[in-house]
């Protein structure tokens, strides 16, 4: 393992262990500010709006959406894939960067993981409500029943169920295992009362013993080791919803890596959005430093370029395959009635992320924030382009039609954004957004007292 001889410190400001604790725990110990309440109000209103739209959809039927005979999936699966994609950054940061020993991740992994969990919850909502008969969702699970029936293991949707539920479970467990020592800190910081009891309950009796730390680290690294293929598999399987079908524009073998890259791209963009707000709002500039943002921007360049490459490859393969349906499907994407969506996709994802080659922009927080939102919009449109433009003009020209979303569908998107931000706002008030113990362990990096070894690797 190569280490650069001089490292820039990962944490800025002169920090002691004690000040780290008090800095990070301050939101939990103090009253929330005006902006928190404002954000909470807005996001819960959005959530309520979404809940009403869910109720309306379930009661009245999927007909309230703009979908039709030809376009059977549109807004909802677009948003589903978008959220699942966002949900990839968290585990990517915690697992893959942990395996690659990117120490800077320690400041951001907690919030990224939380984001993952909330994003997966938002995502999982869509497959549920997009069912024609959501009350029969339990049909999807292979449970023993009096009909003697199981499920169709050929179907990518069943794979999805397994992949997403596994991903959610493992992410949640990973996140919680990491939280246990920090909850211990919280428990010890709070003097008494119900709050203390609750944290006590949640801390699982963490005492910080060397053996516990050892097992904790081994478990973390092993979870990271299995979460790494998991994170790659989840979006691969989601992409198989499309790739294993017969629809021109969906039926492409490039989808798994393309989707994974896209997912990490959008996930990091969302992490950027959240962290830039969080560090500002919660005064965590010392922990989430400009170099964190820059590092993530570098990942954005990389994944953005992969995504761009995938776009080009798709086009090339469509032409090279010689299949007229493929050929038409891709021409239709770029030049058909939904050309604007395609242009938004290219503009927001490929062109904008290339701007990050400029160091000045890469280091600019304002630009990064703006860009992260642009990328998220772009990635939403990527899925929209894949789903809608492929479906609306498929094989039989007689069935070609257009798709127009309705207010209900927008409501669902807004609603999940509401759920997401409500959950995130609650999270920052309840649990430390930065992993205290992990940050403490990297406090001295860039210091004189540099440690040569890494945990759990001997």
């Amino acid at each position: 393992m190569l280490q650069s001889p001089i490292r820039t410190p990962l944490i800025e400001g002169s920090k002691t262990y004690r000040s780290i604790t008090s800095d990070i725990l301050s939101p939990m110990m103090n009253k929330a500010g005006k902006f928190w309440y404002l954000g909470m109000t807005i996001s819960s209103l959005a959530m309520l709006f979404g809940v009403f739209m869910i109720f309306w959809t379930v009661w009245q039927g999927i007909g309230t959406w703009g979908e039709n005979r030809t376009v059977g999936w549109a807004f909802e699966i677009t948003t589903f894939v978008w959220w699942i994609g966002i949900g990839h950054a968290g585990t990517f940061i915690s697992a893959i960067l942990l395996l690659f020993r990117q120490k800077w991740r320690n400041s951001i992994n907690r919030s990224a993981e939380a984001m993952t969990i909330f994003a997966v919850i938002c995502a999982a909502l869509f497959p549920l409500i997009h069912l024609g008969r959501p009350l029969l969702t339990f049909f999807i699970f292979p449970y023993p029943n009096t009909r003697g029936l199981w499920v169709n293991f050929n179907s990518p949707l069943v794979w999805d169920v397994f992949a997403i539920s596994t991903y959610f479970t493992i992410s949640l467990v990973f996140w919680y295992v990491g939280l246990i020592p920090d909850i211990g800190t919280l428990r010890d910081k709070i003097k008494k009362g119900l709050k203390k009891n609750i944290y006590n309950f949640l801390s699982f009796g963490w005492k910080g013993s060397a053996r516990d730390w050892h097992r904790h680290e081994i478990t973390s690294i092993m979870l990271a080791a299995i979460a790494t293929p998991l994170v790659l598999s989840v979006h691969s399987i989601v992409s198989m919803d499309f790739a294993s079908s017969i629809v021109p524009g969906w039926h492409t073998t490039i989808f798994p890596p393309y989707f994974v890259a896209g997912a990490i791209f959008s996930g990091f963009a969302m992490v950027q959005t959240l962290l830039i707000i969080t560090r500002k709002a919660m005064g965590l500039e010392d922990f989430i430093t400009a170099s964190h943002i820059e590092n993530m921007n570098k990942i954005l360049i990389a994944t953005g370029s992969i995504v761009g490459l995938a776009y080009i490859t798709e086009m090339f393969m469509a032409w090279y395959s010689g299949v007229e349906y493929e050929h038409y499907a891709f021409m239709n994407r770029a030049t058909g009635p939904y050309w604007w969506a395609y242009m938004i996709m290219i503009g927001c994802n490929v062109v904008s992320s290339q701007l990050l080659w400029i160091k000045k922009l890469r280091k600019s927080l304002a630009f990064t924030f703006f860009l992260s939102i642009v990328i998220n919009i772009g990635m939403w449109f990527e899925r929209f382009v894949i789903i809608v433009t492929s479906l609306h003009r498929d094989y039989l020209t007689s069935s070609w039609t257009m798709y127009k979303p309705t207010i209900v569908e927008f409501g669902l998107l807004i609603g999940t954004l509401g759920i997401f931000f409500t959950a995130f706002l609650l999270f920052i008030r309840i649990f430390p957004v930065i992993s205290i113990s992990e940050v403490k362990s990297i406090l001295k990096i860039g210091d004189k007292h540099q440690h040569k070894s890494d945990p759990g690797h001997e």
Partner: protein, 169 residues
Amino acid sequence: MNNRSYISISFDDEVPLLEAVKKLRDNKEKIADVLSPFPVHGLDEALSIKRSRIPIVGFIFGALGAILAFGFQAWVFTVSYPLIIGGKPFFSVPTFVPITFEVTVLFAGLSMVAALLIRSHLKPEIKFTPVDERITDDRFVILVDTPDEEINLKRITSILTGINTVEIR
């Protein structure tokens, strides 16, 4: 918990902690436990903690999950209720791969976490009294196992002279 008595030695930084551990072990003191707010690098070797077998648990359960998932799918499609789906054969291995993988990961992950919780006696409890409330903040504590406090306290204090301790009691 047991009723044995300990001498606890507190530090406010990990560097003296490591030195102290080394010295204590050199002096054949029994270190019952070391408590720290974060995993101190090098402590494992210093304490000669054996590598945990949690990965093995994970492997066994992962393998179990793989066998169960694959076997279940194969049984459903060939024995329980074979259905003709898309002209495919009943026993088509590629189809079973994704779910087999996911269940493997799920079993391995959950089993390892379960092993961690069981081995470290971590469980939800409403009443817990820590050795020192600052252990989770900025205190590092060595617990030395001792049958006779009075004598050992002196000995240990002498061993640790020169090392920046906060408190020995």
